[in-house]
């Protein structure tokens, strides 16, 4: 199954064209053009991954990242940054972003990062499921020795 992606960038042409390219590759993609719009989408729907521009006119990308992590901690975030904001992107990774890419990004590299982020999310979800299940189910053998 392909991940559900939210692309967040105030440069509409960029966001919509990137979204179209990802849809051609069978990803499910939604776009948002501001921090507020992005958070509204995050609250309403479950995305596996957010591609987030560091510079947004209403809120900084870092601030939006922090809000995303509060609302949906398992949602992965890939930050897109221009040259001047590399420091911000590094701060983003410390705040929980999966990785960052410089704009304009190479498609192959972006797709590879999307797939890596998605697999990390799936692994984390699996670990959480296993932890929950192990609370209630031990080995069948131990059930036979229940004194």
């Amino acid at each position: 199954m392909k991940p559900r992606i939210l692309v967040v960038d105030d440069e509409k042409q960029f966001a919509e064209t990137l979204a179209e390219r990802l849809r051609l590759r069978m990803f499910q993609v939604t776009t948002a053009f501001s921090g507020a719009e992005a958070l509204e989408q995050i609250e309403r729907f479950n995305f596996d991954l957010v591609i987030l521009d560091v510079y947004l006119p209403d809120q900084g990308g870092l601030e939006v990242l922090q809000q995303i992590k509060k609302l949906k901690p398992l949602t992965e975030v890939l930050m897109l940054t221009g040259h001047a904001e590399v420091e911000t992107a590094i701060q983003g990774m410390k705040a929980g972003a999966f990785d960052f890419l410089l704009k304009p990004a190479e498609s192959e590299e972006l797709i590879a990062k999307i797939n890596q982020a998605y697999h990390r999310k799936l692994s984390q979800e699996e670990r959480i499921r296993e932890a929950k299940v192990s609370r209630y189910v031990t080995s069948p053998r131990s059930a036979l020795h229940d004194d």
Partner: protein, 219 residues
Amino acid sequence: MDPQDPRLIAAELGVSLFGEVSASLSHELNNVLSVMKENTGLLQDYLELAAQGRELDQERLAELAGRLARQVERGRRLVQRMNRFAHSSDQPSARVELGRLLELVARLFQRPAAQEGFSLEVVPPPSPLEITTRPFVLENLLWRAMRHACQSGDGGQVLRLEALPREGGAEIRLSPWPAGAGREFPGPEEAALLELLEAGLEITAHRPALCLRLPGITG
């Protein structure tokens, strides 16, 4: 050289202005390149699909070509703006048309203003208004005034720049000027720029505006 010499202060502020404007314009140009890269990538995607047997949508291709052309035009305008700004420091003193100068400064400041939630409007003078002044110093002062207005004021507003003739020179108005702005304007840096421009500054209380009074000839 005396560190309080207005020419030295103006020179340092000038370097700072070049840095801010360059950073802003390069960010916008990077956006143009990013959009173009994605659109050319999309074109390549369609061509690959066509090679696999999918029919090419001619209208879609025409639309993508149109998008690329618009981004090229957008990039061209940005470079033009950058060039005009760079050349404004060619001569310390020059004859300028104030409407065009305000238009340039407003377009350069558009992105920083948007970051603070402001948009800009230039009201041109009723007829071309030329004065002899220090264009780069004037641009610097206007930049600092707009920045102060945006950082001290409430977002969601339109900042208006207008140039008007007055006896012996011209007046530039920036409105609305934020009431009770945190930092006094003009500060020492702006005072140095005003001295070089031989200009006067007033903040009007009624329909609050910053009024910059320029002589017809400077320097």
